[in-house]
Symmetry: C2
């Protein structure tokens, strides 16, 4: 379809460059923006532009933050001997939302994915090794997604981290709480049988 | 979920204000923008800001345009005695894509929807009446969606336009080309029987 304004078309092109937004959706969003007042557009544009200048990555763990050291790393109540390794800040947010973890994080910023051209050098691994050398770390928890990329990254990290005197664990995999057994995929169900745990009434 | 940066949160809020984008999608989009270079963000922001200043509405028909009179109204090959009344510029784009219409348009900018607080005064109706008074118009085609709002607007326009010496038609409704009869809804199938047309080999 031919867009009757080159400026509208440019905006649609930009919006359609976002992941998961097609041209038709982008046009709908651009037309919504077009209806807004000058002030509203200015607020929108300012908020997007601020991402570049104002949002920092924590110098310790790679989490996003408005200050050089994030609110987890700077919290004296957190257990700094425990580091949970995650792909992305969304994983930090998801784990924080469980309110059941009191350690710190290390945000890799991706997973090893040779097909997408992402190698270990693209991830925040040197800083993780630095933390192991300079901070007193007892346990590293690998909390990556149980996908091929996650498993590849787990394997790479395990080999890289083995020389250090630190316990390496990974989050448990199995049937999701609240889901029905008969709908679980075969691999998950098979693994959850193999990795069965002693029944414990306190859970 | 708690977003660890107020600037990121502000961007997420703005993106989530777009129609059909939830907070989780908005976060995904904001994180994608966060990964971009300064130049890329600048291009994005400039394109959005330009919507406000650069995209005009055609002074004749309400279509979007970069110049005061849109490319349809300023095209001497178009039949100005024929006006197709549509809700939105996306309808203009859809009809133009059929390459089977050589008249002009009138873009209302919405449909009468009392439930959403949209009344006739919010639509580009005065300009339509002005066109009927000052231009030589033979036929008005109502090409609004066959929804409750579309039908309400058709009815309102029909009453408003009747005093003028002009043929008022509406686009045909019926079974979509290529679709299977058994899956058509009852109302559409019923109407397409009532409004049956003489069979014509030339179609």
């Amino acid at each position: 379809m031919q867009i009757p304004s080159q400026y509208l078309e440019a905006a649609v092109d930009q919006i359609a460059s976002l992941p998961g937004i097609g041209r038709r959706s982008a046009l709908r969003l651009a037309l919504d923006l077009l209806k807004r007042s000058e002030l509203e557009i200015q607020d929108f544009v300012t908020a997007i532009a601020a991402l570049q200048d104002k949002v920092l990555r924590c110098t310790n763990c790679g989490n996003l933050s408005d200050v050089p050291v994030c609110h987890v790393c700077s919290n004296p109540k957190r257990d700094t001997s425990l580091i949970c390794i995650v792909e992305d800040i969304r994983d930090v947010m998801a784990i924080e939302a469980t309110a059941s973890y009191q350690g710190t994080y290390h945000v890799l910023g991706g997973l090893i994915a040779p097909m997408d051209g992402v190698g270990p050098q693209d991830l925040l691994i040197p800083r993780l090794l630095e933390r192991l050398e300079t901070q007193e770390v007892k346990e590293l928890i690998l909390a990556l997604s149980p996908t091929m990329e996650g498993d590849t990254t787990n394997y790479y990290l395990f080999k890289k981290l083995k020389p250090y005197d630190v316990l390496i664990t990974r989050i448990s995999r199995g049937i999701a709480v609240g889901s029905e057994l008969q709908y679980a995929d075969e691999l998950t169900l098979g693994r959850s049988l193999q990795q069965r745990q002693v029944f414990d009434l306190s859970e």
